[in-house]
């Protein structure tokens, strides 16, 4: 059974078809890339899956169960962690607390647990381990807003990981980063996959996407135009057309 499945998922904004009947499946343990030119609906797809935008039509299934009627926090509780294209960290909280917020996700559910203190050694140890893994341990007391962009992106991934999600959705993790920072992040993502997480990611940078993804779905003007192994996608005429335009048009 696929981890995540969308069936004829559509999102229209006042007549603009930002997503149009998109069907896709994310298999367990894979890295699925969502690519496409600007305005293709990649981020809209992420926001619709996590129900930040209510779908106009269609279904989203997580392990076969519909989740499109759930609120974003419930979707997070089911095991979908995500990051944002433009980082949305808790800027005035320390790196430590940023992780802690996500780490506590199960404790927000019952009114009984929610008033318990978070200052416990067992929590601290786990968070420290995670911070080490992503290379942020030395910045633990720094407020998130003071981190350089590369580390902010890293922290956002770490924060999503602290939810202990089954599916990790990364929205342009390498956007705005230099070559080296992007490479470090690619390594981090590979590492995460190595731990058995399923990953879905939007990426603009084709070489990064090609190197990272097992499979790709190509969106253009809100519709899925191609799907397949990364090597196949590269030579698909429809994809080349979407990115570069039709030959007749150029001529």
């Amino acid at each position: 059974m696929p981890v995540l499945e969308t069936i004829k998922l559509s999102k229209h904004f006042a007549g603009l078809k930002a997503l149009n009947d998109v069907n896709l499946e994310v298999e367990e343990g894979e890295i699925l890339g969502i690519i496409g030119p600007n305005g293709a609906g990649k981020t809209t797809l992420f926001n619709t899956i996590t129900n930040i935008y209510k779908p106009t039509a269609g279904e989203v299934l997580f392990f076969g169960k519909p989740i499109h009627h759930l609120r974003p926090f419930e979707i997070a509780q089911r095991g979908i962690g995500r990051t944002f294209q433009i980082t949305r960290l808790f800027k005035n909280l320390s790196v430590w607390k940023n992780i802690l917020v996500a780490y506590g996700s199960k404790r927000y559910l019952s009114l009984k647990n929610v008033f318990e203190t978070y200052q416990r050694d067992e929590f601290n140890q786990e968070i420290f381990r995670l911070l080490h893994q992503v290379g942020l341990a030395e910045y633990k007391d720094v407020n998130a807003k003071y981190l350089p962009l590369g580390l902010q992106k890293r922290l956002e991934i770490a924060r999503a990981l602290a939810l202990n999600p089954i599916l990790l959705m990364l929205d342009e993790p390498c956007a705005g980063l230099g070559y080296e920072e992007a490479q470090e992040l690619v390594n981090l993502i590979r590492n995460v996959r190595g731990q058995g997480k399923t990953i879905m990611l939007v990426e603009h940078n084709m070489p990064v996407a090609m190197g990272l993804c097992d499979r790709m779905v190509v969106l253009s003007f809100g519709s899925k135009i191609a799907e397949g192994k990364s090597e196949e996608i590269k030579s698909d005429p429809k994809v080349i057309e979407a990115y570069l335009g039709r030959e007749e048009e150029i001529a």
Partner: protein
């Protein structure tokens, strides 16, 4: 010499502290602007006054009931805050303050412009509360409020509220039921203001709509902002400074709001985090001083140095 005057000032100061700390939960922790906190203070005061004058209930029953009632009204504002956000919420809360005062003013049930008088003092073991007893009681309420505030700050609840303040959408994607959390913050914050209102009504023995008007809301938010928003120590300091100011500067009482306004503008420009807020000038200076006095302590860096007291 400590006279009745000092006891009265200290009691009112305690009430201000409770108001500042309770608003701090809503605005400081959760980041929901409220410029109508005096309305909830008023609702608590009127509830208690009516319960004890018209229904002859004892203070010990009226006090929790009025806190409870205010919390329910406050939770409705919390529901409203789910739809109306940021600047619009601030303006809405101003409106709520005016509406509540108008209801007190134009309804005979609430005594109209004359307000409600002859509110009986609480009885303790058959004796009427003295001024000193009020001070003790209010001090207890202050300690209770500080206790609630610090429990919140150290709990998952408080962490969730801070996350909502920083980025509501991100908080939601971290599995936090932001709607529920915001309503809880409004309920706790306004409930505490209602308790403050109840004891205020009995302490003054007479209340009128003017006691709970918009300028008081501005004073309360000024306390929180000037002291250091989001921290307990900040709200305490702010309430003490602005609570004592009118007593110390009696000669310039008329210009009080000009001074508050000026202070607010000054703080926003130079110390938006307040005197004792996170990363404030004073705190940095104190930390430097501490380092020069105890150089070795520098090595033991507190992990939760921003969890405040």
């Amino acid at each position: 010499m400590i006279g009745t005057y000092h006891i009265v000032v200290a009691t009112l100061l305690g009430i201000y502290i409770v108001l500042a700390l309770s608003l701090n939960i809503i605005t400081g922790y959760t980041g929901q602007p409220s410029l109508g906190h005096a309305a909830f203070f008023g609702i608590g005061a009127y509830a208690s006054a009516i319960l004890s004058t018209k229904y002859n209930l004892s203070f010990w029953v009226a006090f929790p009931l009025s806190g409870f009632f205010t919390a329910i009204v406050g939770s409705l504002l919390g529901v409203l805050s789910l739809r109306v956000k940021e600047d619009f919420l601030a303006i809405t809360t101003i409106g709520i303050n005016f509406v509540v005062v108008a209801i007190f003013l134009y309804s005979d049930f609430f005594g109209g412009a004359f307000g409600i008088g002859e509110i009986p003092p609480p009885l303790f073991l058959g004796y009427k509360f003295t001024k000193f007893a009020y001070l003790v009681f209010v001090s207890g309420l202050v300690i209770f409020t500080i206790w609630i505030s610090s429990i919140l700050l150290r709990s998952w609840m408080g962490l969730g509220l801070e996350a909502i303040r920083e980025d509501e959408l991100a908080a939601e994607t971290m599995g936090i039921d932001t709607k529920k959390f915001k309503i809880i913050a409004f309920t706790i914050g306004t409930g505490l203001a209602g308790l403050a209102g109840s004891i205020y009504a009995h302490f003054m023995t007479f209340i009128s709509p003017g006691d709970f008007s918009f300028p008081l809301s501005i004073t309360i938010i000024s306390m929180v902002v000037i002291g250091g928003i989001g921290t307990i120590r900040g709200a305490l300091l702010g309430a003490i400074i602005l609570g004592l100011a009118p007593e110390i500067f009696r000669p310039i009482l008329e210009y009080r709001f000009m001074v508050y306004g000026g202070l607010l503008v000054f703080m926003m420009r130079f110390q938006p985090n307040g005197l004792l807020g996170h990363e404030s000038f004073l705190l940095k200076k104190m930390a430097m001083l501490k380092r020069t006095i105890y150089p070795t302590k520098l090595m033991i860096k507190g992990r939760d140095n921003d969890a405040c007291s």
